[in-house]
Subunit: 124 residues, 2 copies
DNA sequence: CTAAAACCTGACGTTGGCGTCAAGGGCAAG
DNA sequence: CTTGCCCTTGACGCCAACGTCAGGTTTTAG
């Protein structure tokens, strides 16, 4: 697959894929003319990278995880990083859940004029 | 309370509070000399603002919500925005949960040499 | 064969949520 | 009074994940 195809399939821009390669997150076979060529699994890999970005990991952290899984070898430092990131994400999920619940309370108040008036300044 | 006290209590910098005021997220009483003065509730308000930032809302979105709750009046547009943000956060929670579960699988593999070897290239 | 579409490298632009000086004013303690 | 900490505004700095433009090559469709 060429870069445009992979980008379209993964829902990102070609620029993003070149950036990932620059950061060491994604590799590609180069055709004689210099054009990049990817295997089918590149799409899943890009989606996974996107998920990790969405979870707040930096390029450097992702590089570590990629190297870990790629080589099939996990050092203690890698295991520690995996655990740390996992905990960070877990905390983030709890915080977001709490925020969502508070938003639900505000929405309930906004849908009910009586409670809206009664709760003036309740949350904010 | 003065700006430094509020900042310390909320765990942010005074600079952040001035920035919030600049964005219309936070108001303050001004003393004759120009110094800002806040009520007790400012701390909770700042924590709430932080939670919304952490949930991925922009200053402009937060301004809308603040205005909504502050005036005690919710327009249809405000209700729509509240619902939209709530859904965004809910989706984000599901995505993060999925990412965390995949990380868990990788961690399990990394802690078990046999599965580590067997799953070479499994997720990535 | 040719023209459009897709690709390349390199480099500068963007955005948001502050950090960080710079230069000065105010106020309680010793 | 003065020392020192906290406050003010204004302005530039920062960083990451790309967007975008320039200027040139390659591949593909007709």
């Amino acid at each position: 697959m060429r870069i445009g195809e992979v980008a379209a399939a993964a829902g990102v821009s070609p620029r993003a894929l070149r950036y990932y390669e620059e950061q060491g997150l994604l590799t590609s076979q180069r055709h004689a003319s210099g054009q990049r060529h990817y295997g089918q699994d590149a799409v899943q890999r890009v989606r996974w990278i996107q998920a990790l970005y969405a979870a707040g990991l930096s390029s450097k952290s992702i590089t570590g995880l990629v190297g870990c899984v790629h080589t099939g070898v996990a050092t203690d430092a890698m295991r520690a990083q995996l655990a740390a990131e996992r905990e960070r994400i877990d905390t983030q999920i709890r915080d977001l859940t709490h925020t969502r619940d508070r938003l639900d309370a505000i929405i309930a108040a906004a849908d009910d004029p009586d409670r809206m008036r009664a709760s003036s300044g309740c949350e904010l």
